[in-house]
């Protein structure tokens, strides 16, 4: 769990396994409806945002 340094609200950093890839996702307690535990299955709607590190061609 992390704390928003501006609002001081807690939120979760979740590592979600999707097939063989681990996707990092973030959610507050209200969205999750509780505190997550390792091994749980999460289904929901996600906004996926990327930043380009390298375009190798």
């Amino acid at each position: 769990m992390l704390i928003n340094a501006v609002t001081e609200s807690p939120y979760w950093w979740l590592q979600v396994r999707v097939r063989e890839v681990t996707v990092h996702t973030f959610a507050d307690r209200a969205t999750l409806g509780g505190d997550p535990r390792e091994g749980q299955i999460l289904t929901g709607t996600f906004w996926l945002v990327g930043k380009v590190v390298d375009l190798g061609g």
């Binding site: 979600v16 990327g50 380009v52």
Partner: protein, 157 residues
């Protein structure tokens, strides 16, 4: 960082990883804000398409396959996805200028990006197919709505 054609992207960040990217239009006004979390984890992607928001030209997304397994087959990765890009405005030209032999087949997005300004997802009408190319991304997902969470073998949610 300056955007080709005018405007800029401005990044605000905190030490733990959260960032906010502000899109500044050529008139100096804030055109949009996108949250991002720098986890440090890189992902390979075979880019197969690109699109921009018809109403917000500094906003856009790419289609692709995550972690492609075969060097000459872009449709070989873990799964297809669509992701918004926080730096779309400054990398768009670089993405569209990279070209490679085009394989047969068509990519359909399995996940969709969404901006805070829209309901129901990014419109497809601006999508362009691209000759597949490779890139490295950092990704962060924001859970916007939980439908279901459970521990296998228990009734507790």
């Amino acid at each position: 960082m300056p955007v080709p054609g005018g405007g800029a992207l401005v990044r605000f960040e905190l030490p733990q990883g959260p960032q906010v990217w502000a899109q500044i239009d050529p008139a100096g006004e804030i055109a949009g804000i996108t949250p991002f979390f720098a986890t440090g984890a890189p992902y390979g992607i075979a880019i197969t398409g690109i699109g921009e928001d018809p109403e917000e030209p500094l906003d856009g997304w790419i289609d692709g396959w995550l972690e492609p397994r075969e060097g000459d087959e872009p449709y070989s990765g873990a799964f297809p996805l669509r992701t918004s890009l926080v730096d779309f405005a400054v990398v768009r030209n670089r993405i569209t200028n990279v070209s490679h032999p085009r394989p047969s087949g068509n990519c359909r997005a399995g996940l969709r990006g969404r901006t805070l300004r829209k309901r129901g997802g990014v419109p497809d009408r601006s999508r362009r197919d691209l000759p597949p190319s490779r890139g490295i991304l950092r990704l962060s997902g924001a859970c916007q709505h939980r439908r279901h969470a459970r521990v296998p073998g228990t009734d507790r949610a």
